[in-house]
């Protein structure tokens, strides 16, 4: 089935119930043989070894299915999946949805990794500690920072960790009470404001100049005072614009006695090209599940190592990973550390995959990564700007972008009544992932933000823009098709009232039953 030359798509629709709604009482996948008499005698009453308070009074309300039913159920669900391995994911800007190399998945599933435990004596796990240590050193080289901690579990967690380090720094200098403000920018990731707020700071947000799309230096100067503890900023922004004033911002914040933490979620365009430490940043973080090819597993598990300059190393979370010349060890003896920020030592599978990817790429490969990512994106920009109804904000000052770009469908909305919500629902009819719109607040109206990482073949770029052009044509000639989309997907429209309503929402079967007696 083709539509105007675009290969057709129709999603599988199994109408598969929840596993709790399948099966029959008494059904089993396999039965376990009763223990032989001699074993029973030797082991005694095993159940009595479970403390009374932990013993079940009733049996668990588990589904009872035969093995074929289980297999079929999950195969069907998997057939209804859509992801980076099945479709075009260019739409997910700022996520950097690059290919997750299968060799790295195999490595991470090796029993040599899955069968070790963080509580093992470090002398028995030197191999993985070495990999963690080396990754930290590689990230230092890439960023120009002096030390990295692999502890934080995701971007917001990393920014929180950095905010807490900033607090600890000022507290040690006796200035924390006076310095209670963090400055950020509205086009930075919302966690750049949210995490410092959780850390106890007042958050001062700067808006961009309408012409340039970035804040002007005067605004920052007006925001900075003796109350400034520091600045958090995402650079480059999700708009694909690298803030040209970042070195000035850093200078201003430093002059005021503050520290600067840079969110490098969008580092894919900077690999091998710019070291934020060299520009003067005091802290930063990377997202391994973005720039470094570790998978986004349903929005996790993330891993976001933080990097700091020498003067902040003492505040890093415990334990840090050290090498004494002959062995790797965990150091908990750090009197100025902000303490533990997560269980154990980090997201090890992500660490392994990121390390493997960097080593496979090498210095040349990393530079090629950032170069191809930027070329891909600008090729896409040129194609999308020609689509009727699509505009690129701040295009006079920034006709070229780095890793991604934020477009607007405001013109299409005004001329046809079709907006980004409609377009996104129609996009999936063509077997491509819908677009990330924008973090809030929506500075750009009817926004969409695609990002084609370096692993995107040119055919995908062309397909994506062909689909968007087709949808635009529909919007201007027969908008109902777009407004009533999707037509080819597993389910049609979602009723979003339940996830919003405390009386309806349920994250477990038990909760669902209790609310729907």
């Amino acid at each position: 089935m083709t539509e105007n030359g675009i290969p057709g798509y129709r999603a599988v629709a199994w109408n598969e119930p929840l596993i709790f709604q399948l099966g029959r009482k008494g059904r089993r996948g396999s039965t376990i043989l009763a223990a032989e008499d001699q074993i029973k005698v030797e082991s005694g009453d095993v159940r009595s070894r479970i403390p009374e308070a932990m013993r079940r009074k009733e049996s668990a309300n588990l589904p009872e299915l035969s093995e074929p039913e289980v297999v079929r159920h999950f195969i069907r669900l998997s057939q209804q999946n859509f992801g980076v391995d099945s479709g075009v994911m260019i739409g997910h800007g700022t996520c950097t949805m690059k290919y997750n190399p299968k060799i790295n998945e195999t490595l991470a599933r090796s029993p040599r990794l899955t069968r070790i435990h963080p509580l093992q004596d470090t002398s028995t796990v030197q191999g993985i500690l070495e990999i963690m240590y080396r990754l930290a050193k590689l990230l230092c080289t890439l960023s120009g920072m002096d030390e990295f901690s692999l502890q934080p579990r995701g971007g917001a967690h990393a920014v929180l960790t950095n905010a807490r380090i900033i607090r600890a720094y000022h507290k040690l200098n006796g200035e924390l009470e006076q310095r209670n403000e963090i400055v950020t920018t509205v086009l930075s990731h919302p966690c750049n404001g949210g995490s410092p707020a959780v850390a106890g700071f007042k958050v001062i947000t700067l808006y961009p100049d309408p012409e340039t799309g970035t804040p002007n230096v005067e605004t920052l100067k007006a925001a900075v005072s003796k109350h400034t503890a520091g600045m958090t900023i995402t650079d480059p922004y999700d708009t694909g614009i690298f803030d040209p004033c970042i070195d000035e911002y850093i200078k201003i914040i430093h002059e005021a006695g503050g520290l600067v933490a840079v969110d490098q979620a969008n580092a894919n365009s900077l690999l091998g090209r710019l070291r934020i430490g060299d520009v003067g940043a005091d802290l930063c973080h990377f997202n391994l599940h973005k720039s470094f090819s570790a998978p986004h597993g349903s929005h996790g598990p993330g891993s976001a190592p933080v990097g700091v300059k020498k003067h902040l190393v003492g505040f890093l979370p415990v334990p840090t990973l050290e090498f004494d010349g002959s062995k790797y060890y965990l150091d908990y003896d750090r009197p100025h550390s902000i303490g533990k920020v997560s269980g154990f030592h980090g997201v090890i599978p992500a660490v392994l995959k990121a390390y493997a990817w960097i080593m496979a790429m090498g210095e040349e490969g990393l530079r090629e990564t950032s170069e191809v990512a930027v070329i891909n994106n600008n090729y896409l920009i040129e194609k999308l700007r020609k689509v009727r109804g699509v505009t690129l904000p701040w295009n006079k000052n920034h006709p070229r972008r780095l890793q991604e770009a934020r477009f607007s469908l405001q013109q299409m909305m005004e001329e046809t009544g079709v907006g980004i919500d409609d377009v996104n629902r129609r996009m999936v009819d063509f077997g491509i992932q819908k677009c990330f719109t924008s973090h809030e607040p929506w500075i750009v109206p009817e926004p969409f933000t695609p990002e084609p990482p370096e692993s995107t073949p040119k055919e995908d770029l062309d397909r994506f823009s062909d689909v968007l052009r087709q949808i635009s044509r529909e919007a201007y000639t027969n908008p109902e098709i777009v407004k009533k989309a999707p037509h080819n997907c597993t389910i049609s429209r979602m009723d979003l009232s339940s996830p919003r309503d405390p009386k309806k929402w349920a994250l477990t079967w038990r909760a669902y039953l209790s609310k729907n007696k």
Partner: protein
């Protein structure tokens, strides 16, 4: 000028009200029909009530509705009084929503008649659209109406601006705040796929956070001048003090010491005491002084001092101005305007502020 049409439902189901701008350009009926077409999809479950002839009946029938027609007018000779009467008739009918077509003048007429007793939404067909009660375009007005009637939109108070027509003809823009209407808005029309969209605060919660922050900072020794508007009113609500929505009130030690004061009254009560002004910008245009609060004269501003002006605004209001500004001042005194210009902080939430520019 403008007319309004109300629509009422029967068994307590959704009601749709529609008004029509008479005497406006021929484009007005067309735009009204554009809006109504979006509503035809629920025609079977609502009752449309309207005013006769070109105040709504014609447009409704054109779209296939079979409306209930109230009132009587002189065809092609309707006035503002007809607008007011229609709105009042709709209110008496217990409509769920008054949908009116027109400009600021129409909005003003609707507002004066029904205030916030019934939700209202404007289809923009007039030339002067400075009020925040209008949808972005006719189609959106229709869509928003449907969403509202399905219980999928929230209500907020939006400013109604009255533009000085004479000044407008002379090429000057002079609009002032003349009231508020309760208007549907789309809090979550579109879901950002990556961010925690459920965490977006609605207007009331935002205003409450701001109020909490302001109240915590209040000092007993200080007098607080509370300017008009719902964001500032939320501060009074937090204190448990009754505030006039459109007037300037004075608070000291968390109690009301002056209500709906004019410039003289304000200056007299203040004397030489330490005072702060709590003010919120008007949506879209962004005026903080000079449009809705003439009582805050240059003399009052100078008495209080620039550093004692507390500007508060919810993030979505700030977004409608700019985004991110600039805020505007037009006190009538150039020197005062100059003094107020420059960068200021705006409180947008609990321990959250934004730096914006003020221009004149």
């Amino acid at each position: 000028m403008g007319g309004r049409v109300g629509l009422k439902g029967t068994d307590g189901k959704e009601i749709l009200a529609r008004a029509r701008d008479l005497g406006a350009k021929p484009v007005s009926p067309v735009r009204t029909i554009e809006a109504l077409r979006e509503i035809t999809q629920i025609a079977d479950s609502i009752e449309l009530v309207t005013y006769p002839f070109d105040m709504g009946e014609e447009e409704a029938r054109e779209c296939g509705f079979d409306p209930k027609v109230l009132g009587s007018i002189k065809e092609n000779e309707t006035t503002a009084a007809d607008t007011a009467n229609a709105a009042m008739a709709m209110l008496k009918c217990h409509v769920d929503l008054i949908l009116f077509a027109g400009g600021d003048g129409t909005a003003r007429d609707v507002c004066r008649s029904v205030r916030q007793d019934v939700p209202a939404l404007g289809i923009p067909t007039g030339v002067k659209i400075h009020s925040a009660v209008f949808a972005v375009n006719p189609r959106k007005a229709g869509e928003l109406t449907v969403r509202f009637l399905h219980g999928k939109a929230s209500l907020r108070e939006a400013e109604v601006m009255d533009t000085d027509e004479q000044a407008f003809r002379e090429g000057r823009l002079s609009a002032h705040l003349c009231g508020y209407l309760k208007v549907p808005y789309e809090k979550d029309a579109v879901q950002p796929s990556k961010s925690a969209s459920f965490a977006t605060l609605d207007e009331e919660t935002s205003q409450d956070s701001i109020a909490q922050c302001i109240v915590e900072r209040m000092e007993d020794s200080c007098y607080y001048i509370l300017c008009p508007g719902t964001t500032v009113k939320a501060v009074a609500d937090k204190l448990g003090v009754a505030k006039t929505l459109l007037g300037v009130d004075l608070i000291h030690k968390r109690t009301l010491v002056g209500s709906d004061l004019n410039e003289q009254g304000l200056l007299k009560l203040l004397g030489q005491k330490k005072a702060k002004i709590i003010v919120s910008p008007i949506g879209r245009q962004g005026f903080i002084f000079g449009r809705g609060n003439p009582q805050i004269s240059p003399a009052v501003i100078r008495r209080v001092g620039r550093e004692n002006i507390l500007i508060i605004a919810t993030p979505s209001k700030l977004l409608s101005i700019g985004p991110g500004g600039p805020l505007l001042v037009d006190t009538g005194n150039e020197e005062t305007d100059r003094m107020l210009s420059g960068y200021v902080r705006v409180v947008t939430g609990y321990q959250e502020e934004v730096v914006v520019k003020v221009s004149s």
